[in-house]
């Protein structure tokens, strides 16, 4: 029996050799790498026009026009260039918001769950207040208060990533606290900060990272919504949201103005979602 099992396992291994180990994770990760490279390196390497300051005489050019692969928008700006530069904004905003959430919220949640008692109650009550808000509504109010800009968009969205990460991190911490190795660490006289940094953090990190990947998709969508409403990235600078808003005005005549940024948005969000989802199911199986 045991021999047969080992044999099967070995056979499984040898059969797997030479093939991609986890295609369901490598494939979306590869697509993501292409998207990131296209957005950040594309404008530097490819011979495309600037995203702003186009000539109005060249407006509404169709796709495959010379020099404008995807055509131009009502202001004569190159659509491909705007899609790529818009992607930069979306990715930078989403990354910043999720990093703030991961670091601030993750630490807050872990501390809250680790310390427990009154501290825990107070922190979680405060975060409950933030979570109670419909995110887009408060973000709109914050964005309007601070004025539209990239930094303010990040700040406004961080209002929501912090409590969300804190909840995930606290739940993970509470689950870990019951495990024997935590008690062992404490019995050894390990100082609390060391338990947090060396024993807790590495164990809750996978959950926070997968949550962050799903969070990337959510933030990209909300950033798009803010820019769509004119409260995110301010207008001449490109973003997928304000490109869609501009295209909406001539939706029936030139639908492609909406289709290109929408497709970029969908592809990017989908990739983050698939990657996050597949990583989560892989890590929960282990």
């Amino acid at each position: 029996m045991a021999v047969a099992e080992v044999a099967t396992a070995l056979r499984g291994q040898s059969r797997r050799r030479g093939r991609v180990r986890a295609p369901e994770i490598v494939a979306p990760a590869a697509i993501l790498a292409v998207v990131v490279a296209a957005c950040f390196l594309g404008p530097l390497v490819l011979p495309i026009a600037e995203p702003v300051g186009g000539n109005v005489l060249e407006s509404y050019l169709p796709a495959f026009s010379p020099g404008h692969l995807l055509g131009t928008d009502p202001n004569g700006n190159d659509i491909l260039s705007r899609v790529l530069h818009g992607g930069q904004s979306s990715l930078v905003v989403a990354l910043a918001v999720n990093l703030i959430g991961l670091l601030v919220g993750g630490t807050l949640g872990a501390l809250s769950g680790f310390v427990g008692g009154k501290t825990d109650t107070v922190i979680m009550r405060l975060l409950d207040v933030l979570i109670a808000f419909p995110s887009l509504v408060l973000t709109l109010a914050v964005a309007q208060s601070l004025g539209p800009s990239r930094t303010n968009t990040i700040l406004a969205l961080a209002f929501f990533s912090v409590p969300a990460f804190a909840r995930v991190s606290r739940a993970a911490t509470l689950r870990l606290r019951e495990l024997p190795f935590m008690a062992a660490a404490e019995l050894c006289g390990t100082p609390a900060w060391r338990v947090l940094a060396r024993h807790l953090a590495p164990n809750i990190a996978p959950q926070l990272v997968t949550f962050g990947l799903l969070g990337m998709g959510i933030v990209i969508v909300i950033e798009g919504a803010l820019s769509f409403l004119g409260l995110g990235i301010p207008a001449p600078a490109p973003s997928w949201g304000n490109m869609i808003a501009l295209g909406q005005q001539s939706l029936s005549a030139t639908p492609m103005l909406v289709v290109w940024p929408s497709a970029a948005l969908f592809l990017t969000v989908l990739t983050f979602n698939v990657l996050g989802e597949n990583l989560r199911s892989r890590w929960s199986r282990q």
Partner: protein, 338 residues
């Protein structure tokens, strides 16, 4: 959310007054919602107080003299300290007075009421569409886990969860309003004028909100059903008794999954009313979202504040309601005194 309720001291008066376990539980949950509601009002007040420069200057424009600005500040009460202003605003809010709009001089409460019905109808329709479709689809998917239909519904779900609702809305307009001309692209017909036309004007906006929700509910419900079918003793018992697959699914698994679904629906309402803001803008529906955006553009912070607070209060109350419903429906929680 209020499910992780703060422990209330056993000996507190509120707890001893009521003896029925259900009522006591309801009382406890309602009490935990009060500080959250207060916190929400403080936060929305504080956020709007962050407006750079001062509100009076922005309302009057750059040419206003300092005397004019000071006069307006005094009229609006902006010269008083923030705590003072908050308390008087809260006092008004508790008696149903949310202030007077700066741009239209109408009472904010009246404006909210006149816009509430459209948003309410939109949200209700979105729930009907999404849940009405999600339940049968999830049941069919769970009937044969990893079967063709299950896989198809999973692919559709993850795709649907990745589409931004404003993109979906424009896509729906493009196909159903521009190409097929089946539904109007923008505009709203009140329910009182024509029921049919009213529904026609809301189908596309409600659909745009409902589709991602449908995907979310389908995934959730399907996952919960499959978990139960694979691991629970009562399912094994039911199957051992010779009960048919569909019966097991409907009578044994689904009835248990409903609890989780209720909580998720309650938690979603916050996101859902956030979604109405942008959808109402796209379809030019005169709802709360449109009121909020107009107020934001007009720098009418009284109305912005009123809208933000109403949105947040509705979200908190929806969570509370879901929590209570869950408690009342599930005997383990009703009598467990968790």
């Amino acid at each position: 959310m209020a499910g992780a309720a703060a422990p209330i001291r056993r000996g507190s008066r509120a707890a001893t007054l009521v003896t029925s376990p259900s009522l006591r539980l309801i009382g406890r949950r309602v009490l935990t919602a009060v500080p959250i509601l207060l916190g929400v009002s403080v936060l929305s007040f504080w956020v709007l107080d962050l407006i750079p420069g001062n509100a009076a200057q922005q309302l009057l424009g750059a040419e206003a003299t300092p005397e004019q600005v000071a006069a307006l500040e005094q009229r609006l009460g902006l010269d008083r300290p923030a705590v003072h202003r908050y308390l008087s605003w809260l006092g008004g809010a508790l008696t149903g007075d949310l202030g007077t709009s700066l741009s239209s001089n109408q009472p904010a409460t009246g404006l909210l009421w006149s816009h509430l019905a459209v948003t309410g109808e939109l949200v209700l329709l979105a729930f009907v569409f999404s849940l009405g479709l999600a339940v049968p689809v999830a049941l069919l998917a769970a009937h044969r886990p990893n079967g063709f239909f299950d896989r198809l519904s999973m692919i559709v779900s993850i795709g649907g969860l990745s589409v931004a609702n404003y993109v979906l809305a424009l896509l729906l307009v493009l196909v159903f309003a521009v190409q097929l001309a089946m539904f109007p692209a923008i505009g709203f017909v009140p329910l009182g004028e024509s029921v049919g036309e009213n529904l026609r004007s809301l189908v596309l906006p409600a659909g745009a909100i409902a589709f991602p929700l449908f995907c979310f509910y389908t995934r959730f419900l399907r996952g919960d059903l499959v978990d139960q079918l694979q691991g629970e003793d009562y399912i094994v018992t039911a199957r051992a008794k010779g009960i048919g697959t569909w019966q097991v699914l409907l009578r044994h698994a689904f009835r248990n999954s409903v609890f989780g679904l209720i909580t998720v629906v309650g938690l979603n309402l916050g996101t859902l009313i956030g979604a109405t803001v942008i959808i109402e803008q796209i379809f030019a529906l005169p709802g709360l979202g449109q009121l909020l955006l107009q107020a934001i553009n007009a720098r009418d912070f009284v109305v912005v504040q009123a809208c933000v607070v109403v949105f947040a209060v509705v979200a908190v109350l929806a969570n509370l309601l879901a929590d209570l419903l869950y408690a009342v429906l599930d005997p383990r929680i009703r009598y467990g005194g968790r």
